[in-house]
């Protein structure tokens, strides 16, 4: 009987510890997830609110020397400008996707 009592008290003690450990681990994981979520939300928020940093605005096209006035130089410079054009409609598509989710 006594042995039984000792065994049950021991096993209940183990179970209690196990439950505490599992719940502590659970809380820890939840906290980590929460922190990760918060960090990600902050990063996205910053990205949205931030104006384009001055370093990301290249002074385009670079200053050229006067002697670069051959037809091929001129054509290349003009082609480069055409290639660097930003598609306005595509930029607005991002806004439209957000609007559609409203």
């Amino acid at each position: 009987m006594n042995e039984n009592n000792i065994f049950t008290s021991l096993s209940s003690g183990f179970i209690k510890r196990g439950v505490i450990l599992v719940s502590l681990l659970g809380i820890l994981i939840l906290l980590l997830i929460g922190l990760l979520w918060y960090w990600q939300a902050q990063v996205t928020k910053e990205k949205i609110h931030q104006a384009p940093p001055s370093s990301s605005i290249p002074e385009f096209p670079q200053r050229t020397r006067g002697e670069q006035d051959s037809l091929s130089d001129i054509n290349n410079a003009l082609d480069a400008i055409e290639r660097s054009e930003i598609d306005l409609e595509r930029e607005f598509q991002i806004i439209d996707r957000e609007l559609n989710s409203l």
Partner: protein, 256 residues
């Protein structure tokens, strides 16, 4: 009676002389308001027998002058952007407060806030992009002018290219003005009254910004086309790339 008629005739003559003088003065004033554009082509026109060194000096002087002008526009645009940035921040706070008041759904609140932010961000980004593109086009036009001036010095007929250059310059300047106006444009947040009208109101703002930017995009495209046309006409001049300013030692000296 005769004296009276003579007096009238003399008076009339004096008045007409005075009127001609005034109108000529007005014309002169008008020409001062719109002076001819200072370019290498204009300078070559004034001095057809320009030396290599003079050409180079003039080119450098003009280049510096134009860079300063571009710097001025850039500074103006960025100053204006800095000024309105604080106002935009205040508008954001206003919108946030209004959304909390009028819309219960927090997710919807966040979407509207995000759309407003994205609109302002895009306006900023596109304005700077157009400014850069126009600066680039201006520099290309200067190179076209340099090549045209060399052709002119060598006795080639460059009338068509000159006209195309004038047109391209006008289009660049007009687009630059539009960019400057856009840089100072402030978009107020929509006055949302309920959850129902939120999408319509923010959609209207999106459309307004889109229309404004589209107009500039078209103006920039027009300017680019005009520059391209000047290049096409320039290419039609026979042996254009081999034409240089006559100099004493052409083999060793690189000339702009």
């Amino acid at each position: 009676m005769k004296k009276l008629i003579i007096c009238f005739i003399i008076g009339g003559l004096l008045y007409s002389t005075f009127a001609i003088g005034v109108s000529r003065d007005d014309n002169q004033k008008g020409s001062r308001v719109l002076p001819p554009v200072d370019s290498i082509l204009e300078r070559v026109k004034e001095r057809p027998s320009i030396s290599r060194e003079e050409f180079q000096r003039n080119w450098q002087e003009l280049n510096e002058k134009k860079e300063r002008a571009r710097e001025e526009i850039r500074r103006w645009v960025f100053e204006r952007k800095g000024e309105i940035a604080t106002q935009i921040q205040a508008f954001r706070e206003q919108l946030k407060g209004r959304l909390k008041e009028k819309i219960k759904n927090t997710e919807k609140q966040m979407i509207i806030e995000r759309v407003y932010d994205r609109i302002n961000f895009l306006n900023d980004r596109m304005t700077i992009h157009y400014l850069n593109t126009l600066e680039g086009l201006e520099r290309i036009l200067e190179r076209i002018e340099s090549r045209t001036a060399k052709a002119k010095i060598n006795g080639k007929d460059v009338t068509a290219v000159e006209n195309a250059i004038v047109e391209a310059r006008q289009k660049i300047e007009s687009a630059q003005q539009m960019v400057k106006d856009q840089a100072g444009r402030l978009y107020q947040p929509p006055q949302i009254e309920s959850e129902k009208d939120a999408k319509t109101k923010i959609g209207e703002l999106r459309q307004k910004v889109h229309n404004d930017l589209k107009k500039i995009e078209e103006a920039v495209k027009e300017a680019r086309k005009a520059v391209r046309q000047a290049v096409v006409l320039l290419a039609q001049i026979h042996g254009i790339d081999s034409l240089e300013v006559p100099g004493e030692n052409p083999a060793t000296q690189s000339v702009p």
